[in-house]
Amino acid sequence: MQIYLPIAEVSVNAFLLLGLGGLVGILSGMFGVGGGFLMTPLLFFIGIPPAVAVATEANQIVASSFSGVLAHLRRKTVDLKMGTVLLIGGLVGAAMGVQLFAALREMGQVDLLVKLCYVVFLGIIGGLMFFESLKAIRRAKGPHKAPARKKHGLVHALPFKMKFRTSGLYISVIPPVLVGVFVGVLAAIMGVGGGFIMVPAMIYLLGMPTKVVVGTSLFQIIFVTGFTTLMHATTNYTVDMALAVLLLVGGVVGAQVGTRIGARLQAEQLRILLSIMVLAVCFKLALDLLIMPSELYSIGTGGGH
């Protein structure tokens, strides 16, 4: 069934959009990623103009993250306090990121920078997570040893300590705020919620338990993407409600299914799956940069640079 999208001004198959929304929703509920880093390229691929895809995607992520957070709240796997701290950093970072993005656009080649950002970050994060989880799984299978708790890092020597009860942490607020700022900057530049950077950062940098990380990440993504949606709607008029509704109907259902799948998996399995997915996207983007494209020319809108 074809449907004409009023803002994007293209006609697409409604079931395709429902399916895409559902698939990305499952990943979102399972891993606590917004799914923007998967969905945005997929929307480009089916012919949605990039500006509309990025803006509408933000709106869809609000829905699937909210759906996911409710499921996590019932399981008490959302650290609201940590989420709020990350969010404060995230909003500051997003504001900085928008400025940086504008400056880079002036210089041209912003597309390339975004792509390189993706490849580098996805590669590093995916690779680290993959090997770490593999090691963890091997350890679990071998003779049972108590996991050595590394409790003394720089993270614990900083001032402004705060108790995060849900995460079972007593750490300084500086690292979470910095993580928030960093993710906010990247999110604004790359046009995504930033969950795929946030999740590993919370696990490895802050030492939060994997089960809590997913819900907490979704919690802060709601606000960042909600803010982004409003910004795009008021400045660029690029949020397509019809497209968003189709994507989010699939997305919210997918998020519920994903949360339940996630709850049945072990933390190591969850991490290794996420790392494989991250590496796959990284690989695909790297190939695009390295292999000669079949069409060298592309059409961009406006009289831009």
Binding site: Y4, S67, L230, T234, V239, L248, Y297, G300
Partner: protein, 254 residues
């Protein structure tokens, strides 16, 4: 201006040949874009009026051109730098129709002379106007406009329909032009040319009005006229959909 020209033209040809005129109409002048719009076929039909057919003259040809609203686009070209493929070069196209279809009774370059093409800007290459700059000569820009035509032709947005008009007995003609689903809203000017031996002898201009209606219209207007309300409404929809799914799933205890 046109009338003066026609008059002068009429003076130039021998008086026993009356100037021929083209009359035409369309199956629909208003195309309404609804939520399930998936393209529209427009039937264009008409007749050639006046003047007895002279056996000695070349046969008549008909050309029909429909153009969508113009927009400015940037065509970019990728090149290999340091081992990776990046956009290195671009050309701004100041005037690129969002849709362009040109139908004719024969191959376009045979039924229309290059001079007349320059005058009336009928062919696809003429309808697109790229700004030349110091970085590109005419040849360099040409590669980019060719790429634009190729990419949009693939999307069925640019159509060159040679031999698609049926002309019966040098008097009646008809053709169907398929407007694709990916239409942009606006006025689509349509021009019909009657040519003989590559020269335009008569022409007619009309238009098709493409409008969003119903829900499409409402969403589009709200997004542009009350963006803040639209943005908040989008968020409300997202939040309530998220809540609804969560509530439903809790109820069915999947």
């Amino acid at each position: 201006m046109i009338r003066v020209f026609c008059f002068l033209l009429a003076l130039c040809v021998p008086s026993f040949v009356q100037a021929q005129k083209v009359v035409a109409d369309l199956s629909q002048r208003n195309v309404e874009i609804t939520a399930n719009f998936d393209g529209s076929d427009i039937l264009i039909y008409g007749a050639i009026k006046g003047g007895p057919e002279d056996e000695a003259l070349e046969p008549l040809d008909v050309i029909i051109a429909i153009k969508g609203p113009n927009d400015a686009v940037t065509v970019r070209k990728k090149d290999r730098r340091f081992g990776i493929w990046v956009n290195t070069d671009s050309v701004k196209v100041a005037r690129a129709p969002s849709f362009y279809a040109v139908a004719s009774t024969g191959p376009l370059n045979e039924v229309l002379s290059p001079q007349e093409d320059i005058r009336f800007q009928v062919s696809m290459e003429r309808a697109i106007y790229a700004v030349g700059d110091e970085a590109h000569d005419a040849e360099g820009t040409r590669a980019f406009t060719d790429a634009l035509i190729r990419l949009r032709s693939k999307a069925n947005l640019y159509q060159q329909l040679d031999n698609s008009i049926q002309l019966f007995d040098q008097a009646l003609f008809s053709t169907t032009i398929d407007l694709p689903a990916n239409l942009v809203e606006g006025v689509y000017p349509m021009r019909i040319f009657l040519t003989r031996d590559g020269q335009v002898v008569s022409r007619l201009a009309t238009f098709i009005d493409v409008r969003k209606v119903g829900l499409e219209r409402w969403i589009y207007d709200l997004a542009h006229e009350k963006p803040l309300i639209y943005g908040i409404l989008s968020l409300v929809i997202a939040i309530s959909a998220g809540w609804l799914a969560s509530a439903v799933f809790r109820y069915i205890r999947f």
